[in-house]
Amino acid sequence: MNDIVIPPLVALMFFPGGLALLAGSLLYEWADRKLLACFQNRIGPRWFQPLADVVKLLSKEEVMPEGVNKLLFLMLPVIALAGSLTAALYVPIAGFSPAFSFNGDLVVTLYMLSLLTLCLGLAGANTVDRFSLVGATRTLTQLFSYEAPFLLALLGPALAAGTWQINQVNNFAAQNWWMMLIQPIGFLVALVGLMGKLELTPFDAPEAETEIVAGALTEYSGRGFALFRLGKNVELVIGLTLMAAFYLGGIHNPLDFLLKTLGLLLVLSFLQSLFARLRIDQVVGLWWRIGALLALVNILLVLVIF
């Protein structure tokens, strides 16, 4: 199924990228919220709630706070969503070949995902609201702490496969044992790194609602907020796809994709329900003292074995 080639424009606009990805990402957000609710003994949202949220937000008035750069304020959500949608073109979503693929697209994909976080940080720093500013500082601080270990953890399978092309790593993973078993340390770091990237508990200090309202997005309402949220949902799907492709034996058909990503999501939701929120200094300490070290050990092991 991996050799079905979809015309680039269709891939970009409708399937597997574009509209299908957006719709899918909303369902993934719902699955995450519902699972978390189950773990916390709550009922949780109905299946169309994320879509309803987006529709409502898009129809609302967008309030432009005083003292912001208007162009940046309007453009940042668009750039953020564009970044994560672009990243989707290089990963084998639903088990189809990526629309574009070249050697080194792993780095580009990760960069595009970081673009979203960067936009979040800038959006917070752009407003004069104190909650946004603190949130922006925390977002960017956290970016610098998890980014390197996460990248290193994804490099493990890539080095084993001898290529930095996501599609080829995906094929390599299919012909070998699951990387999760061969590189358990790398899997662990990548999984926790993904939680940091998505700002899930215990790494949700950047949007801690009991301290700084909604963090960097405090001043956003309506359209901008909806676009940022969509971007984050797409990031969730891409992150899960990357993890499944690299560590869970690759993905080669839609069923395979669904099972593996939803399985991962189950683990992510469970982990979210286990922890209290860490302070930002504790997050940075954790990543650089333990995360980065573990990721390096993983890389060394890969270099020695392969």
């Binding site: 773990f39 916390q40 003994n41 603190v134 215990p202 301290e211 329900s273 922890f275 209290a276 302070r279």
Partner: protein, 321 residues
């Protein structure tokens, strides 16, 4: 809790004592209220630390005690069990059995919560050595209730000045030593165990007899104070009667007001992320802190300062609107 404090004060002025069964029921309701308050606090404090799972769990279990209280009094929050001279509700055998069953369940759950707050690494990272208050500081800031007791301040009105049924059913005062947020969690959960023990004892040895005693319609002139141990600490009532059937003055000092000073001092030097948890650590009741401030702007403007008469007239006028 407030009803008990007022009723005790009025009874003291009138020179009557409520019958033993009424006193035991007052204590029973107060202890059930303590269970609900501490479980509520546990959830709120966990939520401030971003631990929403604990929040949801403790509030789910709190429903058990809310249902018990509703079964006794018909209300979930304001039980209005007290009347002057006694209580207006009785505990039947079925209700007592239901309470025993509910308490057994909650005790088991509290053991689980104790394990969580003393073992969970991420949670300990947010509570251990945060907002530490020494015993000297606790005395200096006038901390009361579990907030003070977590710093080793051995002070519980139920033990030091027993009221209602606490003379016959003594309470072991729970204290901690560390004085940080973790100690406040531990002290409050240990207090739950003590409360469960006390509830069982109250149910087992509930005195028989009348529920009310006759209280004169007009309360003799005089003034008194009455103190009870609310879940948050010492609740203080000052009551003044002028010999009529309405109080001349009633002044309430809630425990939250006593504990605020500690947060303002201890917060200095802590990180922003710790502040919500430190505020939650004293179990604050914001509505209990409503106070009237009069600011004197100019020496030449005597109208800015109100006399007791002015204040009284303003108060009466406010409610007549």
């Amino acid at each position: 809790m407030h009803g008990t404090a007022l009723a005790l004060g009025v009874e003291k002025l009138a020179g009557v004592t409520a019958p033993p069964r009424a006193q035991a029921i007052r204590s029973l309701i107060a202890e059930l209220e303590r269970v609900h308050s501490h479980l509520l606090w546990l959830g709120v404090a966990a939520h401030e630390g971003g631990f929403d799972t604990l929040f949801m769990y403790s509030w789910r279990d709190r429903e058990t005690v809310m249902d018990l209280l509703e079964g006794i009094s018909g209300n979930r929050v304001n039980y209005s069990a007290n009347v002057l001279g006694g209580v207006k509700l009785d505990i039947s055998q079925e209700q007592a059995d239901a309470i025993r069953k509910g308490i057994d369940f909650l005790e088991e759950r509290s053991h689980f919560y104790m394990k969580v707050v003393t073992n969970d690494e991420t949670f300990l990272a947010r509570t251990r050595d945060v907002g530490t208050m020494t015993k000297e500081q606790a005395v200096l800031f006038g901390a009361v209730g579990p907030t003070g007791r977590a710093s080793g301040l051995d002070m519980d009105i139920r033990a030091s000045a027993p009221y209602a049924a606490y003379t016959d059913f003594p309470v072991n005062v729970i204290t901690g030593t560390r004085g940080d947020l973790e100690a406040r969690f531990v002290v409050r959960i240990k207090e739950l165990f003590e409360t469960f023990r006390l509830i069982r004892e109250l149910l087992d040895k509930m005195p028989a007899g009348e529920l009310t005693v006759r209280v004169p319609r007009k309360i003799p002139a005089g003034e008194t104070i009455s103190r009870v141990e609310a879940p948050r600490g010492e609740l203080f009532y000052f009551l003044k009667s002028n010999g009529s059937d309405t109080p001349d003055r009633l002044k309430i000092r809630t425990p939250s007001l006593c504990n605020w000073a500690s947060v303002m001092k201890l917060a200095v030097g802590h990180k922003l992320a710790d502040i919500p948890m430190m505020v939650a650590g004293i179990d604050p009741c914001f509505s209990c802190n409503d106070r009237l401030f009069m600011i004197r702007r100019k020496e030449s403007d005597p109208g800015q300062i109100w006399t007791w008469e002015d204040l009284r007239r303003y108060g009466i006028g406010y409610y007549q609107k």
